[in-house]
Structures are given as C-alpha cells and as structure tokens.
Amino acid sequence: MATTFQSPLYASRRRRNRISMALAFAATAFGLSWLVLILAVLLWEGFSGLSLSVFTEMTPPPGSAGGLLNPIAGSLVMTTIAVLIGTPLGILAGTYMAEYGRYDGLTTVVRFINDILLSAPSIVVGLFVYEVMVAQMGHFSGWAGAVSLAVIVVPVVVRTTEDMLILVPDTLREAAASIGLPRSMMITKVAYRAARAGMVTGVLLAVARISGETAPLLFTALNNQFWSLNLNAPVASLPVVIFQFALSPYHDWQKLAWTGALIITLAVLALSIIARLLAAQRRSS
C-alpha cells in the first residue's frame, strides 16, 4: 500500500489536481473581483457628484453646474413607451408558442429567430429603426428611440413568457377546460395567473436591459440639451448623455457622466435583484 501512495504517478496526479483546483479558485476570485472593482469605482466617482440638483436641473453647457433632469425624464418616458409596446406583443407571441402552437412548425421557427434576436447586436436594431422611421420621417425622434427599445424588449418577454407558461401544470388547464372555460379564458384567467410572477420577472429583466442601452438610441432619439418631452423631436436619454459627456474634455461633464453611470447601474442592479427575488419566491412557494 505504502508504495502506491508514494508512486510518482499518484504524486503527479495529486499535484495536477491541486494546481487545477487552485486555478478554479483563482478564476472565481478573478471574475468576482471585476464586479467589486467596477462597483467600487462607480460608487467612488459617482457618489460625490450625487446631489439633489442632479435630479432637478438640466444638463449644463460646459463649464457650469447642472443636473441630469432632462436625460432622466427622457429615458423614463422612452423606456415606458417601449415597455408598453413591447410587453403585450411579447406576451401574446409567447402565449401562442406555449399554448396554441406548442408543437407546430411556426413555434419552432419563431423560437429559433427569437433566440437570435435576443442576442443580436443592439446597434443593428438602431440601424433598422433609423432606416424604417428616421429616414422616412426625415428627422430624429423620441418615438424612433422608443420603438428601437421596444424591438429589444420583445424577445426578452417572448422568451420568459413562453418558458413560464410551459411550466404551468397541464392539470390546471384540464381543470379549467372541464368546467367549460373556452381556451382563451383558460389562458387569461388560469394560465396567466399561475405564471404571473415569472412573467413580471421577464418584464423587469427587459426594463433592466433597455435602461442601459445606448447603441440603438444614438441615431434614433439622438440627444437634446434642453428640456423636451416632445416625442416628435430628438429626446435626451441618460446613456447617450453619459456617452457624450464621458468622451468630452470638460471635467464637469465627466463628473456628471460618472453620476449618471452610478444612477443607471443602481437602477439596473435593483431591477435584476427584484426580478431574481420574485423568481425565487415563485420557486419556493
């Protein structure tokens, strides 16, 4: 026995195991350290600029003080409209895939295409909406920005709706059918209720996704230095303002960009944590 445990082969296997397991630990520490580093810098740089005036004043010209009120409002409005357009569309499409056509060819194709849209480059979505709306209307507009965000919302909602509806036990559907409910009511009154938490999670994740999206807004909603919620004109948004201010040579603007970045990150992280808690609650109940 003693010779086995001291054999060079055994020793080298153990050594190799120890090295690779150390690497696994190191890799995890490496991955997590980025999260810590990014959040630490964000808090450090952004927190000092965080004050009430950020939420009450307009974006300043270079060299003077100001806030981020107009981009925050613009982002909120465009995000809201995008969710209002994208969510019903996504839920209906997901409903077809999970309820009416679970096994038909259309569903397979839509699922495949939807998964590709889910990871398609968002800047391409911006080009698409530019061609379809901005070029046709002749000017940049908040509507175009909202539509391009909606195009990003749809695949996220389709995916979660389908996944959540498929998880609803068929016995619930059978029970609903047995008391004579027509299929549409069975879906809206029974299946949706059973899958509600999951579907809300999907919408929250979609909001988290689009609230940081910059690329599709660059040439749809463009940007606006002033207070404007006119959706037929260019509208400022937080990510685009961060992009513009961060790349500017002015210190005040860079400071505001950090503060804006902090606001977005906190909002996005809060949304995804709430979404996760909702999902976890559902699993445990």
């Binding site: 296997r13 991955g31 194709v109 295409i113 990871s119 299929r183 910059t214 992009f243």
Partner: protein
C-alpha cells in the same frame, strides 16, 4: 338553433331547472360570442408570433436596402479594401472587420478558460450555501450595462494598462521574434488589446452561466463512477464532465462570441477609432460597431451613410451565423436531454 331529434346533452341536464327557451337563445348567443372571442384571441397571438419573424425580416431587408448604394459602388471590394476616406468617398470594410474579429478572439481566449474554471468551481468545489450567491454575483456582472464598462474602461482600466501593464508587456516581449511584433509601439492605453480585455470581462458571465448549467446536467452517476475509480476532481471534470457537456459548452461559447462581436459601447470608448490595421495589439483600431456608433450621426452624404449601413449588414450576417450555430447546438443538446 333548435336541433332535431334527440335534445343535446346540455339541455337534458338543464331540464326541470326552470330554463326557458329565451334563456337558451341567450346561452347560444353567449357561446357564439365566446367562440368568436376564442378564435380572435388565437389569431391575435398568432399574429404576434409572426411579428417576431417580421422584425427579423425587417432588419434584414432594411439593412440590405440601406447598403445597396455602397455595395453597388464598391462591389465585393468593399469587403477587402482598407481605405476609409469620407472626403474622397472611398470606403472599405476590412479594418473594422479585422478589429471586430481580433478583439473577439482576445476576449474568447481569456473568457473561455476562466469561465470553464469558474463553472468547475461552482459545480464541484463550492460549498452549497455559497453556490447561489457566487452564481448571482457572476450573473450581475452580465447585467451591468455596456456603457458602464465603457466609462470604466476609459477612465480606470485604460490608464492602468498604459502605466503598468503595457510597458511591462513591451519590455517582456520586445526581444522575442513574433511577439515583439504583436506588442510593438508606445503604450497608448486605449487600443485593440484593451478592447479585447474589456470584452473578455463582459463575455465571462455568459460563458460561465451556460457552462455551469450544462455541467449541472451531467448525470451524477457518471461522476460518482469516476470518483469511485479513484479519479481526482480535476480528472472527473476534465475527462467525464467536460466531454459529456461538450456540445453545450461550445454552444455557450458561441453565444458569448456573438455578444463579443456585436458589443458596441464598451468597445467604442476604448478602441481609439483608428481606421487602420496594425500588427501591434497595443495600437488603436476600430470595430464595425464602434465605427457605426462614432460616425453614423456625423455621416454626410448618402454614400457614407450607406457604407456604414453596409458595415451593419456585415456585422449582422456574421453574428447571425454564429448565433444560429450556437442555438442549433444547444437545441440538439436539449433534444438529447429530453429524449
């Protein structure tokens, strides 16, 4: 509405409960309305599902339509010419294509091994109570918007690389034949390498979470059998788990690659936007998405705009192929698990 012969079952059941003919007519009307509503809802959901296809079709058609002027002017040479001159209106896509591919390769070279090791940690080594928190933390990394990576990369990461890492790399590889070429030139901070590193951090969560999911799907019996033979944890991971999960891992890697190829904002901040191909990884370059983001709103003239849209079309075709391949692999995997 009155049927002939035997009364319908429903009517038999309702006999003697005071139902009048008028009620029955009402009932028929209600049923008719429900039937209509049902059909309408079905068609509505179907239309929504088809809309998803229309969106994709619209993206392809509008990109092709928008890039026609450029493609007609330059033809196939658009793909391999390296000129990018808005003044003389000469455009070629090879420099952005090169930048896109090289930054993505750097990102994958780092993210894939690190992601796989994290997945091994999460499935084999990590104590149960720590698994969820670590997994969630890695996934939060995926939730951080790309513009945040961009601003962080520009103000924190690039100066750090410039002052500490790049001089070291230049000194280290300066004497070696091939590597001295890759790591030549002054340390700019921003450039291809920086963009690749930022992309690696962004892609890492995707690779990690899919690898973890497919590692967890490996039947415990297989692992237990290997442990029973006396295999070490490393040997189980390398020779049992990884081969079993191979297809899923490749799918996850390609999904991450699709992200890296199309990522815009983080790259735009740190790549330097220089339309040239240089051998050194430290030199500024550009990618397809960064070019579009930087120049689209300033593009004057139809040909310039059209050339940028043609770049978008190339990007979309590349990512479409990569993502489609990734999905097909993952679908095949699901079919195997399900069947």
């Amino acid at each position: 509405m009155q049927p002939t012969g035997r009364p319908p079952v429903v009517d038999v059941a309702l006999q003697g409960s005071g139902i009048t003919v008028a009620d029955q007519v009402d009932r028929a009307r209600v049923l008719q309305r429900l039937r209509l509503g049902d059909a309408a809802y079905r068609q509505l959901t179907r239309a929504a599902a088809i809309t998803v296809l229309i969106i994709l079709g619209g993206i392809i058609v509008s990109l092709v339509w928008g890039s026609l002027p450029a493609l007609r002017t330059f033809g196939v040479s658009f793909l391999y010419e390296d000129a990018w001159n808005p003044v003389t209106e000469k455009f070629g896509a090879i420099a952005p294509i090169y930048g896109t591919i090289v930054t993505s390769i750097i990102a994958m070279l780092i993210a894939v091994p690190v992601g796989l090791f994290i997945a091994v940690f999460l499935t084999e080594l990590c104590p149960m109570w720590l698994r969820r928190p670590v997994g969630i933390a890695i996934e939060l990394l995926a939730g951080i918007p790309s513009i945040i990576y961009g601003i962080w990369g520009l103000f924190v990461f690039a100066p750090f690389l410039q002052q500490h890492v790049q001089p070291f790399l230049i000194a280290l590889f300066g004497e070696l034949p091939v590597l001295s070429y890759l790591f030549a030139g002054p340390p700019y901070g921003i450039g291809i390498l920086t963009a690749g590193l930022i992309l690696a951090i962004m892609v890492l969560p995707f690779v990690t979470s899919i690898s973890r999911d497919v590692f967890e799907a490996v039947p415990p019996v297989l692992k237990e059998a290997a442990y029973g033979l006396g295999c070490t944890t490393w040997e189980v991971s390398r020779y049992v788990v990884l081969p079993y999960a191979r297809v899923g891992v490749i799918g996850g890697v390609m999904l991450g690659l699709g992200r890296a190829l199309g990522e815009t904002m983080a790259v735009t901040f740190v790549i330097g936007n220089a339309h040239r191909i240089s051998g050194s990884l430290l030199a500024p370059g550009t990618t397809i998405s960064a070019t579009i983001a930087n120049e689209f709103t300033e593009a004057v003239g139809d040909l310039y705009t059209s050339a940028l849209i043609a770049l978008g079309l190339i990007l979309f075709v590349i990512t479409f192929i990569v993502l489609a391949a990734a999905r097909l692999m993952l679908m095949r995997l699901n079919a195997r698990v399900g069947g």
